[in-house]
Structures are given as structure tokens and as C-alpha cells.
């Protein structure tokens, strides 16, 4: 009888401790999910590397989950599933801004912290992280294209889709920068912007048509990571190497051959792995109840001196752009 009493007392003491321990663990073990545009684009494969590194370093329950193909509807469904699962924070790289807005509103209503990347025009978010100011990066691509075109000639712009947030801001800023800095260059009036749907084949066929229809076209400013490589294939096949030029976002190793053969002189980039880490770091700060104001240090390279975009309370901008050319193409390890 005495033994039984002791046993009961022990059980009564231990059980709450076990539960308390469980609760304590739950408090720090945030579940944070990164949702990229899709799972197969090397850009987001690279982002996953950063996310996994972050998870390993901090021990948090952080993971990346993407849809099989790039599709705004599928992405919205995935996010709704995650809301139902009750995660703590969502870090999203949106496919289409407008269609995602109501879904993100649901997430916020459910008390989930929402951080986005490449979606500065979104309203239903806690914060949006940009590797750099869109205006700065657009101007940076334009600098590279202008240099290749020898600062003169007719050019046009290419984006994944006309509804894509950042791509269009870069293109706008690139055009604005050209008007200011390169007066001898000219935007093609008849076809100011074409779409590539993040598909190298569409970019290739579109570029072929553009060069056929407008013989004086000399440059195409790409934004998506499929644009410039697709355009480069067209330039090569049409026999326009040295006569027509392109620059834009692109992954180093994937485009090593193009850079080394001189079809493309330079590509621009930021490191998606670091962008992924920065989104999570910010989500953790918000979940911890830290005040996000002034200059924000996320402890990730290029994201240590983040400032709010002028006039915005949600968009944070870093200084993460890099240029890739034939000389440094193998230096990044991805």
C-alpha cells in the first residue's frame, strides 16, 4: 500500500513535468514553412539549401515545401493546407500577387506570421523582404545591358508575366534609369514588354520573333532567370552574336557555357539561399515579439543593414546583388 502511494505521488509529480517540458519545447520550436514558386526551378532548389542549413544550425522546425509545377492556383491551395495545419509562420515567394492576397489574409486571420519575398506590393503580410530595392536592381541590370550594347541602340524588356510583382518593377526601374543615364538608348515603342512565363522555350521563341519583326532591336533586358538564357539561345541561332545582347538574372553554373562563349557578357543575381534564410530569421524575430523598426539586422550576409522601403511599413530592403561574368562564374558553388 505504501509502495503504491509512493508510486502515485511519483506519477503525479512526473506527469505534469513531462507535459510542461512538452509545452516549453513547443514554445521555442516554431514551425516555419517556406513556400517557393515551385520545387524544380534550380533557383528554389538553391533556396532549399539555405533553408535546410538554417534548420540544421538552429534546430527549429523549418522546412521548404513547393508545388510540383509553377502555378498560382496550386500555390494558393498549398498555402491553405498549411494554414489548416496550423504552422507558426509562412515565408512565401508568390507566383501571382493578386490571387494570393485573399489566401494570405486567411493566414493572418489565423494568427500566422506571413513573410514574403519578391512581393513588395502585397498588403496582407507582416513583412516583405527584398534582397535589394527593386529600383536599384533594375538599374543594375540596365547598367549591365547598356555596357554590352555600348550605351546605344533599341532595346525591350522581358518579364515572367505582366502580373509578376518584382519583375515589372525591375523593368520599370531599368527603363527609368536608361532615360536618365543612357540617352542614346531607346525603348522599343511597339513592344515595350513581353512575357516568358518562366519558361526558357517561350523566352527563346519570343526573342526570335522580336528580332525578326524589329531588325534594329539590339538588346533585351531579362528579369526571370529563364529570360536571358532563352534570349541567348535565340541570339546564337539567328547569327546575331556580337550584334544583339541580353542581360538579366541567371544562375551561374547553369549558364557557364553561355558566359564563356561570350553570347552573354554578364548576368545579375542574388543568392536565393541567403534570401531564404533571411525570411526565416525575420519570421523568428516577429514570433519572438521583437519590434521591427529602424535598421534591421537579420544576421545573414547582405541582410544585416535592412531598411524600410521609403513610404512603406512592410517592405524591407537589403543590399544583396552580385554580377556574374566569365571570370567569376565558378566562384559561387551553385
Amino acid at each position: 500500500m505504501k509502495k503504491l502511494m509512493i508510486l502515485m505521488v511519483i506519477v503525479l509529480m512526473v506527469v505534469p513535468m513531462v507535459f510542461a517540458a512538452g509545452q516549453a519545447e513547443k514554445k521555442t520550436g516554431y514551425e516555419i514553412v517556406v513556400v517557393p514558386k515551385d520545387a524544380s526551378n534550380p533557383w528554389f532548389v538553391r533556396m532549399k539549401v539555405g533553408v535546410d542549413e538554417y534548420a540544421k544550425a538552429t534546430g527549429l522546425n523549418v522546412y521548404q515545401k513547393g508545388t510540383a509545377q509553377i502555378d498560382a492556383t496550386l500555390q494558393a491551395q498549398l498555402i491553405q493546407d498549411l494554414i489548416a495545419q496550423g504552422v507558426d509562420a509562412l515565408c512565401v515567394v508568390p507566383v501571382d500577387l493578386e490571387s494570393l492576397e485573399p489566401v494570405l489574409a486567411q493566414a493572418k486571420k489565423a494568427g500566422i506570421v506571413v513573410i514574403t519575398h519578391e512581393g513588395s506590393a502585397l498588403e496582407n503580410v507582416d513583412y516583405d523582404i527584398e534582397a535589394f530595392s527593386n529600383a536599384g536592381y533594375g538599374a543594375f541590370i540596365m547598367d549591365n545591358l547598356a555596357e554590352a550594347m555600348n550605351y546605344e541602340g533599341v532595346y525591350t524588356t522581358m518579364v515572367a508575366s505582366l502580373t509578376n510583382g518584382s519583375h515589372n518593377e525591375w523593368a520599370d526601374a531599368g527603363v527609368a534609369h536608361q532615360k536618365e543615364a543612357y540617352p542614346k538608348m531607346q525603348l522599343l515603342a511597339a513592344e515595350k514588354r513581353i512575357e516568358s512565363f518562366d519558361n526558357g522555350d517561350v523566352a527563346y521563341n519570343g526573342a526570335k520573333e522580336l528580332f525578326k519583326k524589329y531588325p534594329n532591336l539590339k538588346g533585351i533586358m531579362g528579369t526571370s532567370s529563364y529570360d536571358a538564357p532563352g534570349v541567348a539561345r535565340a541570339i546564337e541561332e539567328l547569327g546575331l552574336i556580337g550584334k544583339a545582347f541580353t542581360s538579366g538574372t541567371g544562375m551561374p553554373l547553369d549558364n557557364a557555357a553561355l558566359l564563356e562563349s561570350g553570347v552573354v557578357k554578364s548576368l545579375t543575381l542574388w543568392d536565393p539561399a541567403l534570401a531564404g534564410k533571411a525570411m526565416i530569421a525575420l519570421a523568428v524575430q516577429v514570433l519572438d515579439g521583437k519590434k521591427i523598426e529602424g535598421v534591421v539586422d537579420l544576421g545573414v550576409d547582405g541582410y544585416t543593414n535592412m531598411k524600410f522601403k521609403p513610404g512603406s511599413k512592410t517592405v524591407l530592403e537589403g543590399e544583396g546583388w552580385i554580377v556574374i561574368n566569365a571570370k567569376n562564374v565558378y566562384d559561387f558553388g551553385f
Binding site: G200, E209, L210, G239
Partner: protein, 347 residues
């Protein structure tokens, strides 16, 4: 003599191909007027080269639709088999020619096609449901088991095949050049073989027969199950071949960027006068319809359609085109049923 000509004309006016051909010509003239580039040698070569992959897919889709079925899984099937092939050859560091890639892809295509054929032919499940399901399965295997991501480096044999050309067309005015890819031979060979098979072999006539009426075909002595099964195997092989051509020509294997092509391909086949209910249609019409879709997709910038109106324009053209052929088919049926009560199979 005069009566034979009027007879031929009357016969032609009841068929669908002349109308499609007319629409096609009108479109070409429109593009020519707007851009002055359509009938230039390099543009025609560009169109031919853009036709290779959709053309191969359309041949497969055509066979399935003639048999009274529908296949929405062929882009996923092609993606899976070509992705697996490319990855396998990369892993074994294969340095030889493209033939091995084609052989492996054909074998995989046959297996995956047999998967469709088994359920549709032997278990008699509805083709739409089966192929919707198998399309998910194929995508899933690619994403899960093969952990797919874009392969930007492909085996050297495939790379060389993709860039090799039969001839290079040069536009004397603009100086632009375009390659006629060797891959077009694969397309022409398949086109010829399927044309011959559908028209002159018992197997091909069986496919038409099954599409017209399965019961009648069975009573007439066709092995309905076997015919369907073998046909889906063949369609799987043709789709896989299209996948290999695509990867070689693009110089990279992207696991998902063929997905979503099925709608425009099927639209092209129907546009060409193939009855969606099966049993009626010609390969010539199917090719004209596909060509129409390919030209529309690759000429909107030449016409000068603003980017924001692109999909509206493509959609309208598909609706108008299919509308014309659907009207034509129903008109034909009315005339025919007024004349003869029994339904006949027409090639």
C-alpha cells in the same frame, strides 16, 4: 469531265480540311501583311522547327481520339520518360550518340503507355479518368522518386543532335539565320508510319472501327482489348520520342515545362476535324489544325498583338476554329443521316 470536277468540289466542301486550310492561309497572309516576315525562309524554318514536338504529340493524341478515347497524360508521360533517360545517361556518364537515349525513352514510353492501356483496354475504365490519374502518378514519380530538378547539362550525344541541322536558312534581307533541326526527320518518319498504319493496315482500320462503335467492331472481329492496349503503348512511345526531341532541341531537361501542353494539342487535333467522339478524322486535318495552333502561338509578336491580349487572341482563335469544324461535322451528320440511316465509318 465537268461532273467529276463538281463532284470532287462537292465532296471537298463536305470535308473539314479545306476550311482549316483556308483559315490557315488567311492567318499566314495576315501575319505577312502585318510583319512582312512570314514567308521569309528563316521564318518558315522556325515554324517547322517549332512544329516538331507539338506535331509528334498531336499524332499520338489523334490516334487516341480516333479510338473514341482521350489522353491528357502524354506531356507528363513524355516528361517522366525523358527526364529518367537523361538522368540515367548523365549518371553513367554516357558519351555516345543520341540513339541510346531514343531507345531507352521508347522503352520507358512503352511501359508507361502500357500502364494506360492496361486500365483503359483491359479493365475498360474511362480514358479521361485513367489518364488524369496516370498523369498525376507520372508527375509524382518524377517529383518524388527521381527528385526532379532542371538539368542544364545534357549528355553530349543529345546536345550535338539538338544543335545539328539539315540546312541553315538565311534571310537575305535581315541576315538572320535559322536551323532546320535534324529532329524534324523523326517527326516525318513517325508521321509517315502512322499515316500508313491508320490507312492501310487492319490494325489502323480497327482503331477507326472501335471509335465508331466498339460493339460493332467487336462483332466484326476486331480484338478490341488488344487493339486499344497496343495503341496506348504506341502512343506512349511517340510521346516519349517527342520528349527526347524537346530536350535535345532545348539543350536542357526541364521536368515541368511540357506540362500544360495537352490542352492546345487536343484543341489542334479537334480543330483539324477529328470527331471528339471518335471514329472520324484524318491525319492530314490533324496536322493542319496543329500547324494552325503552332503558327498562332509563334506569331503573335509578328502580328503585333499586345502582350496583355495574347491569351485572349489564342483562345478566341481556338473557339472560332473548333466552332467551324464542329459545325461542319454536325452539318455533315445531318446530311448523312437524312440520306442513310446507318452510321458509316469514314477515313
Amino acid at each position: 469531265m465537268k461532273t467529276t470536277i463538281t463532284n470532287t468540289l462537292r465532296k471537298l466542301s463536305r470535308r473539314n480540311e479545306p476550311y482549316i486550310f483556308l483559315v490557315l492561309m488567311l492567318l499566314c497572309v495576315l501575319i505577312e501583311i502585318r510583319s512582312g516576315q512570314f514567308f521569309s525562309s528563316n521564318n518558315l524554318v522556325d515554324i517547322a522547327s517549332a512544329l516538331v514536338v507539338p506535331g509528334l504529340f498531336a499524332i499520338g493524341a489523334f490516334m487516341v481520339i480516333i479510338s473514341g478515347g482521350i489522353d491528357v497524360s502524354f506531356p507528363a508521360l513524355a516528361s517522366l520518360s525523358v527526364y529518367a533517360t537523361t538522368k540515367f545517361l548523365l549518371d553513367m556518364n554516357y558519351q555516345g550518340g543520341v540513339w541510346l537515349a531514343i531507345l531507352i525513352a521508347l522503352a520507358l514510353g512503352a511501359i508507361l503507355g502500357a500502364f494506360n492501356g492496361l486500365f483503359i483496354g483491359y479493365f475498360r475504365l474511362p480514358a479521361l479518368i485513367v489518364t488524369l490519374g496516370s498523369s498525376s502518378v507520372f508527375k509524382g514519380v518524377m517529383q518524388g522518386a527521381l527528385n526532379s530538378k532542371q538539368l542544364t547539362i545534357i549528355p553530349i550525344g543529345m546536345k550535338d543532335f539538338g544543335t545539328s541541322s539539315l540546312f541553315i536558312a538565311r534571310n537575305p534581307v535581315s541576315g538572320l539565320t535559322s536551323r532546320m533541326p535534324v529532329a524534324i526527320i523523326a517527326f516525318l518518319v513517325v508521321l509517315f508510319l502512322v499515316y500508313f498504319m491508320m490507312r492501310y493496315t487492319m490494325f489502323g482500320r480497327g482503331i477507326y472501327g472501335i471509335g465508331g462503335s466498339e460493339t460493332s467492331a467487336h462483332r466484326a472481329g476486331f480484338g478490341v482489348r488488344n487493339t486499344k492496349f497496343i495503341m496506348y503503348v504506341m502512343v506512349g512511345m511517340i510521346a516519349s520520342l517527342a520528349g527526347v526531341m524537346r530536350v535535345c532541341m532545348m539543350q536542357q531537361a526541364h521536368p515541368t515545362n511540357m506540362l500544360g501542353m495537352e490542352m492546345n494539342i487536343i484543341a489542334g487535333v479537334v480543330l483539324g476535324g477529328t470527331a471528339i467522339t471518335g471514329g472520324r478524322g484524318t491525319l492530314l486535318g490533324c496536322m493542319l489544325g496543329t500547324l494552325l495552333i503552332v503558327i498562332v502561338e509563334n506569331s503573335l509578336i509578328l502580328i503585333g498583338v499586345p502582350t496583355s491580349w495574347k491569351s485572349v487572341f489564342t483562345g478566341l482563335l481556338i473557339i472560332i476554329g473548333t466552332g467551324v469544324s464542329a459545325y461542319q461535322v454536325s452539318h455533315m451528320n445531318r446530311v448523312r443521316s437524312a440520306k442513310t440511316p446507318a452510321k458509316e465509318v469514314v477515313a
